[in-house]
Subunit: 340 residues, 3 copies
């Protein structure tokens, strides 16, 4: 329980209503009950239908409600309150005696490591990192401060990770890129993958996602990159700052993705493609070649979204058009007959 006044201070808001009202929890707008606080980014809600004790809205909102808190970013306030009402617990408090930490590994202050985790030689782990159980970290890996690494993650040798990074369970970082050459008799021969992976600050990597190491250079995720689950990031790829990519997307080798790109799920990107900043990619798009202009793209291969959408409508009606062609053919035949 916390008073509305205290909540208002927590989210840096301006309160209109009863400051001493006690709040039990936070919830989504259609589920919040009496005792709970919720939020809206839309102005078009019907306050009469809400049961919430209080409502967080945008600074200039005109919504009327008994208890309101005005903030710059209601979604961010929601995030803050989720963390407050549902606090995370550390997986364990310190280094579990059943973990293996190499003598040459360097741990910062306040690092916790779960059972059955393995830190190989010359690893460096920054202050306040939390490494859960079953995490395998190969030699010469560097991890920044305040990172959270869930169970059964594998981080291969020489991977470098920034501060405040979250890695969900089962992620594999730094596996060999898919590089083969074929001898003249067709036999495939592995090209050793000796490069690195570098992950910036504030990134998040979804469960069972794979980020391959480069052949010689490095695969790069810049700051604030957000990857969903089961994504494939090939060798030598670069993903720009703030880009977010949905599940089951496949990014081939040497692809270059700009900043603040937003990608739906199951997108595929052919090798060496280059995508400029701010592009939005519809789910299941297949990208081949360069995307030079900001905008929304869809289709296989990619088209401007509006063109694609109009084409989809035509495609749904293809039979009608084919019928029309046949009718025209028939009419012309008749006209020709008459003209004889």
């Amino acid at each position: 329980m916390i008073s509305l006044k205290e909540i208002s201070q927590k989210v840096n808001g301006q309160l209109k209503g009863n400051p001493s009202l006690q709040i039990e929890s936070v919830n989504s707008i259609d589920r919040a009950n009496a005792g709970e606080i919720t939020f809206s980014v839309k102005e078009t809600i019907d306050p009469g239908k809400l049961k919430a004790a209080a409502l967080i809205v945008k600074k200039n909102s005109k919504i009327q409600y008994p208890n309101l808190i005005y903030v710059e970013e209601p979604y961010r306030a929601f995030a803050v309150l989720l963390d407050f009402f549902f606090p995370s617990q550390r997986f364990n408090e310190s280094v579990d005696p059943r973990a293996v930490v190499s003598d040459s590994a360097v741990l910062g202050e306040n690092v916790s490591i779960g059972a059955f985790s393995y830190l190989a030689d010359h690893c460096e782990i920054g202050d306040n990192c939390e490494i859960h159980a079953g995490v395998i970290i190969y030699p010469h890996v560097k991890i920044g401060k305040n990172c959270l690494i869930y169970s059964n993650v594998v981080i291969r040798e020489q991977v470098k990770i920034g501060d405040q990074v979250i890695i969900q369970p089962g992620v594999v970082i730094g596996a060999d890129g898919f590089g083969f050459t074929r001898l003249s008799d067709g036999t495939p021969v592995k090209i050793p993958q000796k490069g690195k992976v570098e992950i910036g600050n504030y990134c998040e990597i979804g469960a069972n996602t794979c980020i391959d190491r480069a052949t010689i250079e490095k695969t790069v995720l810049e700051d604030y990159v957000k990857l969903d689950n089961l994504i494939q990031v090939g060798h030598n790829v670069r993903i720009g700052k703030g880009t977010a990519i949905s599940a089951l997307t496949g990014i081939s080798g040497s692809v270059d993705i700009g900043e603040n790109v937003i990608m739906g799920g199951q997108v595929g990107i052919a090798d060496h493609a280059k995508i400029t900043d701010g592009v939005m990619v519809v789910a299941k798009t297949g990208i081949h070649g360069h995307v030079k202009e900001k905008g929304i793209i869809a289709g296989i291969p990619q088209q401007d979204f509006m063109t694609w959408k109009r084409n989809q409508v035509i495609l749904k009606n293809l039979e009608k058009y084919i019928e029309k062609i046949k009718q025209l053919e028939q009419k012309i035949k008749e006209m020709e007959e008459k003209a004889k």
Copy 2:
């Protein structure tokens, strides 16, 4: 070795043939040799080509064969015999001393736990559960009776799993959903994912599949849901009873899938879509919006399957139609010339 009579009793069948015939094993119809039993759900087989010692058929089958067992469900009888002739072995008999089990965890009768598995505080594991090696179970997880959890599975905090559930290796249940908001300057900010996952009875989850926890509420798999490998189930999703989904399918946040839906592989479903009971979804379909009628769907976005199929035929012949349009154009030109 077991007599045909005993087999007939095991599968609840009616025997026509030699009850004392000794059977060595079970096999598929085109591979079963003398000494082996097989089954057929089709009537259109050629018994003369079979080498099997005996044949399991449907109750009202008219197939003639020296040794026949009539049953309600031949496939189920096949399943029973597979388990009999190829019995599963427990991974280990009890709790391996190299597993970690929290003092506050509650284990039912006859639970086995493999080496390097970790059961955190306040877990509850039902009777006869078999947990293999390297399984990490976070605090407050509840697992029902008779579950089988293969190696290197990760189950995050507060996940609830029913009875008779099978979880293949590498599965991740309860990872954070992919929820972000962007500040006015575009910076993505994580929405903490504080909800749960609930999995019903008799479910099976394929290798390396990921099921995300909800933001506040819960992600739900009802009873008898069967998921193949490498599937993504987003936060707040509900999958109805008896639904089966093939590999590499991606289900976005807040999707609602009905009962007994059957889905091919690599299907993608956009967020908040709702699919009614009994729908069949062809592989690679991209679903957007609601699917309100039972039937087969295909395409991106989804269409009725028969329409889609006819459109595919047209698409294969597009060049022909374009040629026809050009011919008509030419003819009209000629007619106009004449008419001058």
Copy 3:
């Protein structure tokens, strides 16, 4: 540092230039600096723009450069030099005391096993195998010589793996195939998966890829099969010698893929499809039925690549053609009016 002469001997090449030149490293052609060696398979490069100390080219190349090494296969020479300049380190030297190795497991000479790895009863591991940390190997698994198995891999019972195989982190081999039957009331019932997986020599399996065991028989990868990350190989599949498959591809049950097939990412193959030797499959193709002729295929369902490409051009211009149909319709109407 190594002399050009020594490098030339290492790659079995013919040297033209300064044999005592000291080489520090190897790099790609556009990044190699003074002191580094690089290679080109193309003749159309501009040697004036290179900074590399030396260049490896094909035996009959006409490229002019101060220091050249002529070889049969420049890519292979590159692979050899990568391994030389960036030598791999063993994860650990012997059997880690924190690994569990069953008394009935048989280890060859010079096998190393990482901490928290588990070798169950009756496993056989060939000479010089390197098994990293957290690898779970079920009973009766046989692994050949010189294999490299990265962390957190799971290999289920009775899987057989050849020599010189590399398995990236998080791979699951031998999980149950996705086999269910439905009772007359619709309830899905598991078909037990009691078959095996057999993997040939010189195969490589990418991170988090899954290869399911067969129902009764075996799932087979022949020699030199190369699988990228996050691939699904269903039960009873056979993949022919030398075939290479890119990430996120899904191969349904009982598919038969020939030799030296090359497949892009996110390809889907329907069950029981058969693909002949040497076929090339464009990314995102959906294969249904048999592919009987060698060639390039694309589309859903698959078409000959050239037809598909021409159709894509038409599809991009669909609106134009629809417009044309409307014009023709109008003209015919006008002609009919006149004719009255």
